[in-house]
């Protein structure tokens, strides 16, 4: 059943390639898009894109539905299985797996091979599963440590490059009556970010991904080493207390009012930090420091958000043209600019916005992320393992003594999931 469906989809893709050369002009019918870009700025970007694409093609009607970003994470299943739209938003890497395996995303490898998406070669891997490509990215952003530059200056600290410097900094910060890191782990994933970085720095990117693929037991000594490093920060009081009660936005005021000096987060946090009253003089960014001197090739988290064509899409030609449109260098420059998403463009030919943090992130990812680029804990790990895993990570941050029990549980989950 599934294979028939897939060949059907592939055949359809082939016919569109044959008809491909002229398709930019005579698109007709309706293009149905469901987007999860529901926050104010992304929503404006998406609505702008839809309107513009609609205008470019007089015979085509673009029908855009914007769904709440959190709600879409569960609604996408229904949306794709009954009366599917043509184009949908989703996330890269393992987060695609359920839909790829169920044959709900269209295999668009041919479009990539035909050169539709020039300038995107470096991100192709994140959209590849079972050796086929299932979508296109439209934006990504760096993770890293956002810190209070003014407090660092006041205490005479500089950006740490090694774990020893990091711990020494943290001790000075604690002695000044503050906490080193704000974090709100109520919705679990911020703890996943911490694990990603500690594990990539302790054991390297390749080990991290092997763990994500389920090839290494959670009870492995190398995993324990990661947790031991984490524990150093926990035991010295580096994290704010009661973080399990707050979500990540609720923990932000602690950094804004100076009770905590730094936050390991994605670049999307900058917007809220600025609107919370921090100026660019007070705020700065550094790459997560090296821990294990043998791991010199840094791995980084840079989650990628994506567009996919539904396997049951009605207007495949228009969908293909739309994917080309959003990934083109010109549109990428525009939508990722400071007026738009304020993130990094996926097209290598696009220009990066003139913003302190976007520039630093771009520089870090293009020059100092030689280890490799990971998506994020809940995107690299299979869904079930991610949810059990992040719960364990949160528990570890509150009760570090329960580590053995937690690791046994994660290991049991690993053996069941993979």
């Amino acid at each position: 059943m599934r294979s028939i469906f897939k060949t059907g989809a592939a055949a359809l893709a082939v016919t569109t390639i044959i008809a491909g050369s002229a398709f930019a002009q005579d698109l007709s019918g309706t293009l149905r898009i469901i987007s999860d870009m529901s926050d104010p700025a992304p929503r404006a970007v998406m609505e702008g894109l839809a309107a513009e694409f609609d205008e470019m093609h007089p015979n085509l009607t673009v029908n855009l539905t914007v769904v709440d970003r959190e709600a879409w994470k569960t609604q996408i299943r229904n949306a794709l299985s009954a009366n599917p739209p043509d184009v949908v938003n989703w996330y890269a890497a393992n987060r695609m797996a359920p839909f790829v395996n169920a044959g709900l995303f269209m295999d668009i490898t041919e479009w990539w091979d035909a050169g539709d998406f020039a300038g995107l070669e470096s991100v192709r891997g994140a959209l590849t599963q079972n050796d086929r490509v299932w979508g296109v990215p439209y934006t990504y952003y760096q993770w890293g440590v956002y810190y209070r530059e003014d407090i660092f200056n006041e205490l005479g600290l500089s950006e740490p490059e090694t774990w020893e410097q990091e711990l020494a900094n943290c001790q000075i910060i604690i002695d000044s009556g503050r906490h080193c890191y704000a974090i709100g782990s109520r919705f679990l994933w911020p703890a996943g970010g911490w694990f990603d970085y500690l594990n990539m720095r302790t054991n390297g990117f390749d080990f991290h991904m092997a763990l994500a693929r389920g090839e290494v037991p959670w009870t492995d000594d190398r995993v324990r080493a990661t947790f031991a490093n984490w524990r150093q920060l926990i035991d010295m009081g580096g994290f704010i207390p009661d973080h399990q009660t707050y979500d990540w936005q609720e923990a932000l005021p602690l950094m804004i009012n100076g009770e905590a000096t730094a936050y390991l987060m994605g670049n999307f946090a900058v917007d809220l930090m600025r609107s919370g009253g921090l100026t660019d003089d007070q705020l700065d960014f550094y790459q997560f420091p090296m821990i294990n001197p043998e791991v010199t090739a840094m791995g980084e988290d840079a989650p990628t958000d994506t567009f996919h064509v539904a396997a049951g899409a009605q207007n495949v030609e228009a969908a293909r043209a739309f994917l080309q449109f959003v990934t083109s260098a010109e549109v990428q420059t525009r939508i990722n600019g400071p007026e738009g998403l304020g993130q990094l463009p996926v097209n290598a030919n696009a220009s990066v916005a003139d913003d302190e943090f976007i520039q630093q992130g771009f520089e870090m990812l293009s020059q100092n992320a030689t280890g490799g680029i990971a998506q994020f804990f809940d995107r690299d790990w299979p869904a079930e393992m991610a949810s059990v895993g992040m719960e364990g990570l949160q528990e570890f941050m509150v009760f570090p003594d329960r580590l053995d029990d937690i690791l046994d549980r994660l290991e049991a989950a690993r053996q069941r999931v993979y």
Binding site: T74, R77, F99, Q244, S387, V398
Partner: protein, 311 residues
């Protein structure tokens, strides 16, 4: 045998059949739409859940038959065990709403100026959405800014992070749930108290009953119907505790406040949940627990009805 063929008699014959069976046909016709919907939306999903619980299915692709494996996994799943215990805590502690409601009702059952205002103020929390109640209580419990900790500190006691402590969080949520539920029980008892026979109270008083004895032997027996309804709605409320948990802790910290309905949702339909079969197995267990109570309720109602008919 040939009689129906005669055109003269046919309409009369049909009419008589309808006439003869009107008493049976009419109620069936009226019940039919409701029964149909009940069958399609309530009964058939129950059996579907039974069926799905025997499969390994992500809700999208192909389902694979695995027999009772989901149930075997449940038996060793610690999260399931925690959820089950939490369900039990909810069932037992939620029943506190009944005596609390009764005492508030007794307290309010007097004629003072403005009593209607007091009654409606006490009833107010029940009108609020559960989501609002959950939000208000989670602010109340906040470790730094919350009113509870401000009060504790005022009296020189240390702070406590109720929703962040795996041992306390469930009790914190139940306390939040008791607030509207007590109001509900109170209103049930208030209406019940209106129907208490003043002559019996008078007679009891003449016989020297007062205080607790009066309450226990004269008032409470007359409130039995109200108690039964309060019991039913409280049990149902305890088993439907989903929204408060979702708002206040989202099942956390690290899964310690989950109940079966929440765990079922997480496994089958949540953000990372792609286990329809496992979720269905949890649903079946939950159904089994509910069945015990439903059977008791039905039996009780049937007995009352029979007593009413014969009495």
């Amino acid at each position: 045998m040939t009689a129906p063929a005669t055109p003269l008699h046919q309409p009369r014959l049909e009419a008589t059949w309808m006439q003869r069976n009107r008493m049976t046909v009419t109620p069936i016709l009226f019940l039919l739409p409701g029964l149909l919907f009940f069958l399609v939306y309530v009964i058939s999903p129950i059996f579907q859940s039974f069926n799905i619980s025997l499969y390994r299915w992500d809700g999208l692709g192909e389902a694979r038959f695995i027999g009772l494996d989901n149930y075997r996994e449940l038996a060793t799943d610690r999260n399931f065990e925690i959820s089950l215990w939490n369900n039990l805590r909810w069932l037992v502690l939620y029943l506190l709403a009944i005596p609390l409601g009764l005492f508030i009702a007794l307290f309010l059952n007097q004629t003072v100026t403005g009593i209607r205002l007091y009654k409606s103020l006490f009833f107010f929390p029940f009108v609020l959405s559960q989501v609002v109640v959950g939000l208000v209580f989670s602010w109340f419990y906040l470790p730094r800014e919350g009113l509870l900790n401000a009060a504790l500190q005022f009296f020189g006691l240390g702070t406590v992070n109720i929703l962040g402590n795996p041992d306390l969080a469930t009790y914190g949520i139940i306390a939040a749930g008791l607030w509207p539920q007590t109001a509900y029980c109170m209103i049930l008892y208030l209406t019940g108290l209106n129907a208490v026979d003043p002559e019996q109270v008078e007679a009891g008083r003449l016989d020297g009953a007062k205080g607790w004895k009066m309450l226990w032997y004269v008032i409470l027996p007359q409130l039995k119907p109200a108690t039964f309804i309060a019991f039913v709605v409280t049990i149902i409320g305890a088993l439907r505790s989903f929204d408060l948990i979702s708002i206040m802790t989202n099942g956390g910290p690290f899964g310690s406040t989950r109940v079966l309905s929440f765990y079922m949702f997480e496994q089958a339909l949540g953000e990372y949940g792609f286990r329809m079969g496992y979720g269905s197995a949890i649903a079946v267990v939950l159904f089994g627990i509910m069945l015990v109570f439903i059977a008791y309720f039905l039996w009780q109602m049937w007995r009352d009805e029979r007593a009413a008919r014969h009495g």
